[in-house]
């Protein structure tokens, strides 16, 4: 059953390319949307969050953490396909876009389902290659620059991860998670610590954490609209952050050095991202720095090392995919309708684009952690987890970061959506932007309001990974 998550998008890509070209390109979008909906339905209705299925030849496994990630991949890919349909006009480019998004879905599904370090690297490469091509598909100078920066830094991260896998394989004889864990945990060797730190630094680069975040603002802001939604919503989270949560909690184990490094990088990312976002005038660039800041929260929760911390990290990861994808969908709608990304040139758009304005308000309130939206609950869990372990300083700093988040988002809302109307001839965005915006907003509000029903069935049990 877990193999289906890889096979269905792969077979769709093959069908789309082997069949009759003319007939296929008009129905490529519907096939892509069907694949993502099928994935979401499989997770919601079959995921009793209680099974572990292995197929003997190809070893993919599903557990609760993988199911949560699979659901977010499906939702964000659905929004990305619709936004791409709204912005890309030529059918050939749309066909290529759908194929590449399906290939990156194959890669990401593989990343969350493998239980072996080298297979993890292989599926990370699939996601990375599709992302490079997706960013560069716009074929203008900024897109090439963003894609090139991402490519070079991703290659450095891959080299670090591969050398680390080689050193770990020397100590454990095999690369599966179980063998590496048995070979690594409990020993105090200097080389193993070096290998672990190399691997984690590679993951920091992939996840866009400070000080390795140089590629992120350029890649997010210069990519085409649908690609930004996919990148910001799920690619960075899966390749960098999910991998870190899985590897650090299951394979390396939490020792004091790793926990301190992760906590420090997390708190620095929160502040650098938030302060840099305050001064941006380009809409998408501001959202990119905001992503860096929120990913810092996830890493901060991981650094506590407790079950509550891991549950908070995963919950905030899910929430962040949803509300960041929402914000990028709205940014795409605004850019399409006004023709610019400069926030100082916009104003009062909420009167002419009401749905975009209100869904954007919901997304930013969730980011800043205002009850009763989902972001409030996940931040609360993170801060409680930090307080329980005794990191009072980090918890207070996290709350301060939340205030700065509120500040820059209020600034953005005032400049773009409220205030004096500067571009009166703008109309509301088309259906292909409104449908994902409304769906994502409903999920944000729903998870927040129904949190008491979800907390003991889904959210806290995810933390019991080991």
């Amino acid at each position: 059953m877990s193999l289906l998550f890889i096979l269905i998008p792969l077979v769709s890509v093959i069908i789309l390319n082997v069949g009759f070209k003319k007939a296929m390109s008009s129905f490529a979008l519907w096939l892509g949307l069907l694949v993502t909906v099928v994935q979401a339905v499989f997770v919601i209705f079959n995921g009793n969050f209680d099974f572990n299925i292995t197929i003997s030849v190809l070893n993919f496994e599903l557990d609760k953490l993988s199911l949560v990630l699979l659901l977010s991949i499906a939702i964000v890919a659905f929004s990305s396909l619709l936004v791409g349909f709204g912005t890309i006009k030529e059918s050939k480019k749309m066909f290529n876009f759908v194929n590449l998004v399906l290939l990156s879905i194959v890669g990401m599904n593989g990343v969350v389902m493998v239980r072996d370090l080298f297979s993890l690297y292989v599926f990370l490469e699939i996601t990375a290659v599709s992302s490079f091509i997706l960013i560069a598909s716009q074929e203008d100078e900024f897109a090439f620059e963003g894609s090139f920066k991402y490519l070079v830094l991703s290659a450095v991260a891959t080299v670090m991860m591969l050398s680390s896998i080689a050193i770990l394989m020397m100590y454990s004889g095999d690369t599966t998670f179980i063998s590496v864990r048995d070979g690594v945990q409990g020993t105090n060797s200097f080389f193993i610590l070096v290998a672990i730190i190399l691997f984690i630094v590679g993951l920091f680069i992939k996840g866009g954490l400070v000080p390795f975040h140089g590629w992120l603002p350029d890649a997010y802001s210069s990519a085409p609209a649908g690609v930004s939604v996919l990148l910001a919503g799920i690619v960075t989270k899966t390749t960098g952050i999910y991998t870190m949560i899985r590897i650090v909690s299951e394979v390396f184990g939490f020792n004091e050095t790793i926990k301190n490094i992760i906590l420090l990088v997390g708190i620095v990312s929160i502040f650098v991202g938030a302060l840099a976002a305050l001064v941006q005038s380009d809409f998408k660039r501001m959202l990119a720095y905001s992503s860096i800041s929120q990913v810092g929260y996830i890493i901060l929760a991981l650094g506590t090392g407790t079950e509550l911390g891991i549950a908070g990290a995963v919950f905030h990861l899910f929430n962040h995919s949803i509300f960041k994808a929402q914000l990028f969908v709205n940014a795409a709608a605004v850019e399409k309708q006004t023709g610019t990304r400069d926030m100082d040139a916009m104003g009062g758009l909420s009167t002419v684009m009401p749905v975009t304005g209100w869904t954007s308000v919901i997304a930013f309130l969730s980011t800043a952690g205002i009850p009763p939206l989902s972001g409030f609950w996940s931040k609360l869990i993170i801060i409680i987890a930090l307080w329980k372990v005794g990191h009072y300083g980090y918890a207070s700093a996290a709350i301060l970061g939340s205030l700065i988040t509120l500040a820059y988002f209020l600034l953005m809302q005032r400049k773009v959506f409220f205030g004096k109307v500067k571009l009166p001839s703008v109309k509301e965005a088309g259906m292909s932007f409104l449908i994902p915006a409304v769906i994502l907003a409903i999920i944000t509000v729903g998870v927040g309001v129904f949190f008491p029903f979800l907390v003991n069935t889904i959210i806290i049990p995810v933390g019991k990974l080991f």
Binding site: V13, L58, K93
Partner: protein
């Protein structure tokens, strides 16, 4: 400390890799990559994995060099001014490479003098065919999907440009 053959081969490989990065023309860099790959092949053969060595030789020193050289032959040749610009501050730009290499050598030297004993995975134990088709089937499938993604990417980025030229 006796001079281990692996040590000599490693030194030669690193020297040829640095030369591939610092040399003036693109074609020489592609040749440098091929030389690095050949020395890596010798290393792998010396460490006891002949099949991995053959794969490395045929793919990297063979196929990839051919692809690079054919791509370079499609580019515009570099003008004399651009060449002068490029080689002007080579030493100043690349000074850190030899520093990092000396540090790595010292670390490697310590490691070879005081080796740790209980490594589980240091010697190849399984037959290559078993490893590739039975143990690593997931990775073979993953590699095929990467090739598919790569080919798709080349088609996306280059086929459209041909249409622009019409």
């Amino acid at each position: 400390m006796t001079l281990d053959l692996n040590f000599v081969l490693l030194t030669a490989m690193i020297v040829s890799a640095v030369w591939a990065v610092m040399t003036r023309s693109l074609l020489m860099s592609a040749v440098g990559l091929a030389v690095t790959s050949i020395i890596l092949t010798m290393l792998m053969f010396n460490l006891g994995s002949p099949l991995a060595a053959v794969f490395e030789l045929s793919v990297c020193a063979g196929l990839i060099t051919v692809v690079f050289v054919s791509t370079i032959s499609l580019t515009k040749p570099i003008t004399r001014c651009e060449l002068k610009e490029k080689t002007k501050n080579r030493i100043k730009r690349y000074w850190y490479l030899p520093v990092i290499l000396v540090v790595l050598f010292v670390v490697l030297g310590f490691y070879m003098v005081y080796p740790e004993i209980n490594f589980l995975g240091l010697y190849p134990s399984n037959d290559v065919r078993d490893v590739m088709w039975k143990l690593r089937t997931t990775d073979i499938m993953g590699q095929m999907i990467i090739l598919l993604a790569g080919v798709f990417g080349v088609v996306v980025l280059f086929k459209e440009r041909a249409k622009d030229d019409e």
